[in-house]
Symmetry: C2
Subunit: 334 residues, 2 copies
C-alpha cells in the first residue's frame, strides 16, 4: 500500500508531526527535561522517570515527539540533544504559550470564527500557563531594555506598581533592585496571582508586596497607589485599546497613581504588511490568537498618537522588535 | 520541505507555524472552506464570511495560518489553493483528530506524564469532534476493505450491530446497503450518539436504527441483540485490551450476540520498531496520544493470539496499513 511519498505528502506529514512536537516542547520545558539535557548533555529516560515520578510510556512518547522534529535524538532510552535543541530551548516559552496556555483558543477555532459565537466571554486561555510562559518570554524580549530604562531613572524608587503582573516575576525583581521599595502587583487572573503570592513568600519578600486581583481597565482608587513613583506594565497594554478607551485608561492611570513619575509600558505591536510565509517563531501564533479573540493590537504609530491625549509625554522609546514588534515606551506625566 | 534542515532557526519557526496551521486545517475543513476551495478553485473571503456569517478578522487569520504552510495562497482577500492543498484535503481528518478532538490531551501533556496525575478519568477528549474526524478517516482507511468484506458475506443480513458506532455513519451506510435490515448502534459517548440520531432522522432511517448509550466493555444482554447476524466494530478494538480482558470481551460478545455469524473488527495496530523521524501523517499523533492515555495498542500478532480463546476463528485478514497499522479481521464464531 505504501507508495513513494511526494513533496507535499512529506510536507504535510512534517506539519502534522510538528503540531505533536510543539506540545511536547512546552511540556518538556515545564517538567525540567530541557534543562536537564542542557546541563548534562544527556538524559536517561529511566533515571529521569524515577527522579520525577513520571509514567514511562508517557515520558517516552514525549521524547519521541521531540525526536520527530530533531529537538532530541533518541537511542532507546538515552536522549541527547538534536540539531534543533538549542533553538528549541531559546523558543520554548513561545511553544508553551501556544500549546499549553492558548491551546483551548486554537482548539475552538471552528467555533470562534462564527460571528454568533463571539458574544461575551467566548474564549478561554489558561492564565497560569500563560503567565508561566510570559515570565520567560519577558526575560529575553523585554528585560534587557527594561533594566536599561530602570537604570536611567533620575529619582529613587520607594514604591512601584506593576499592572498585569501575572506570576509576579517583575515585581519581585524590582524589589530586589530597590531594597527599600514596596511593590503593588495587579492582575485579573487569580491563578497567576496565586503563583505570584507563592513566589513572593518563597523569596522572603511577601511583606513588601501587595497583590490585588483587579481588572486594570476598571481599577478603583486605593491608598496603596498614592505613593507609587514607578508604574510598569508589560504585555497587556493592547488591552487598553481601542483608541478612545486607551486614552481614557491612560488618563485614569494618571489619576489613580498621582505620584507616578515614570510609566514603563512594554508590549507587542502590530507590524504593518506582515507576510504570510517565513514568519519568525511566535509572530503567526500571536497575531492569529489575537484575531481569533477579537483583540486589537495597535501599531507603534497608534500608541504614539494617544500618549499626550492620555496625559503622558513620550520620554523615550526602546524599539526591540524581536518577533511581534516588541517596544517599551518610557512615559512621564504631563 | 521548505526549510534548510541545518538552519534550526528556520526549522523551529516552521515547527511553530505548523502547529498554528494544524489547528486551522481542522477548522477550515469543519467550516466548509476546504470544500469550497476544492469545488471552485478560489475563495473570496468577504463572500465566504457573509455566506457563513463569520467574523472577518478571525476568518482572515485562519486563512493566513493556512498560507503560512502553503495550504493556500493569499492575495489580499482572494484565496487560492497552495502546493500542499490537495494533500491537506486528503489528511484534514487527521489534523482535526489531533487539533480539535484530542487537543486537550496534548495541552495537558506536562500534567499527564506524572504518575500521580494518572488516576481515574485523567484525560478528556472531545468525543463529538473525534467522531466527526473518524467518520472521514474511516472512509479511506477502512471502507474500501470493509465493503469488500461485506460483499463477500455468504448470508443475507437482516440485523447488524456496530460497537463503538460514534456518529453512526457506518450504521446508516449498512442500512442503505441492506434495505431490509435493522441496525443497532452502541457507543459510550452521548454527544456522538446525538449526532448519530440526528443523522438517522435526516436520512429517514430513524425507524430502522436503535442507538444505545453503553460501554461496549460492560454490555448487558438486550433483546435487540438476539437476532444480530453481523457484528462490526471499527477504531475501538484496542479498548478491549489488555489480553485477558480482550479474551473476556470477545467471549462476552459471542454470548451477547448469539446469532452473530460474522464479526468485522477493524482497528489500528502497533507497528513494531517504529522510527522517530519521517513518520507519515497520523502515526506519531496516534501513538503519542495512546501512550499519554495509557491505552495499550496491540500488534496484529497480539490480536491473532486471542481470537480462538475468545470463541472466534479468523476467517480472513485485510492488511491495510496506511498510517497506523490499520487492519480488518473477519471473524466467524467457533
Amino acid at each position: 500500500m505504501k507508495t513513494q511519498p511526494d513533496d507535499s505528502t512529506l510536507s504535510m506529514a512534517h506539519i502534522f508531526n510538528s503540531a505533536v512536537a510543539a506540545s511536547a516542547i512546552g511540556a518538556a520545558w515545564e517538567i525540567g527535561a530541557l534543562d536537564e539535557l542542557s546541563e548534562r548533555g544527556v538524559l536517561n529516560v529511566h533515571q529521569f522517570v524515577t527522579h520525577k515520578q513520571l509514567d514511562t510510556p508517557a515520558a517516552l512518547a514525549l521524547f519521541r515527539a521531540l525526536a520527530a522534529v530533531d529537538v532530541v535524538k533518541r537511542e532507546g532510552t538515552r536522549i541527547v540533544p538534536g540539531v534543533n535543541f538549542t533553538e528549541a530551548c531559546r523558543t520554548r516559552s513561545f511553544f508553551h504559550w501556544l500549546c499549553q496556555g492558548s491551546a483551548d483558543l486554537f482548539r475552538r477555532m471552528p467555533e470562534v470564527v462564527y460571528a454568533h459565537n463571539r458574544e461575551g466571554d467566548f474564549h478561554r486561555r489558561d492564565s497560569a500557563a500563560i503567565a508561566f510562559a510570559c515570565r520567560e518570554i519577558s526575560t529575553f524580549s523585554y528585560d534587557p531594555w527594561f533594566w536599561q530604562a530602570v537604570g536611567g531613572l533620575d529619582f529613587d524608587v520607594t514604591s512601584v506598581a506593576d499592572l498585569g503582573c501575572g506570576s509576579g516575576e517583575r515585581v519581585l525583581q524590582l524589589l530586589r533592585h530597590f531594597p527599600a521599595a514596596h511593590a503593588v502587583g495587579i492582575d485579573i487572573a487569580r491563578p497567576a496571582l496565586d503563583v505570584a503570592a507563592g513566589a513572593a513568600a518563597a523569596a522572603g519578600l511577601a511583606d513588601r508586596v501587595t497583590l490585588f486581583q483587579a481588572d486594570v481597565l476598571a481599577l478603583v482608587p486605593h491608598e496603596a497607589f498614592d505613593r507609587v513613583e514607578l508604574l510598569t506594565s508589560f504585555m497587556m497594554g493592547h488591552d487598553f485599546w481601542p483608541r478612545a478607551n486607551c486614552v481614557a485608561v491612560l488618563q485614569r492611570l494618571r489619576e489613580l497613581f498621582p505620584g507616578a513619575r515614570r510609566f514603563l509600558l512594554g508590549d507587542a505591536t502590530r507590524t504593518p504588511d506582515t507576510a504570510d510565509r517565513d514568519l519568525p517563531v511566535f509572530t503567526l501564533g500571536f497575531e492569529v490568537a489575537h484575531d481569533l479573540m477579537g483583540t486589537f493590537i495597535p501599531t507603534i504609530a497608534d500608541w504614539e498618537s494617544v500618549f499626550e491625549e492620555g496625559g503622558w509625554r513620550l520620554h523615550r522609546k526602546h524599539t526591540i522588535d524581536l518577533a511581534v514588534g516588541e517596544v517599551i515606551f518610557e512615559l512621564v506625566r504631563l
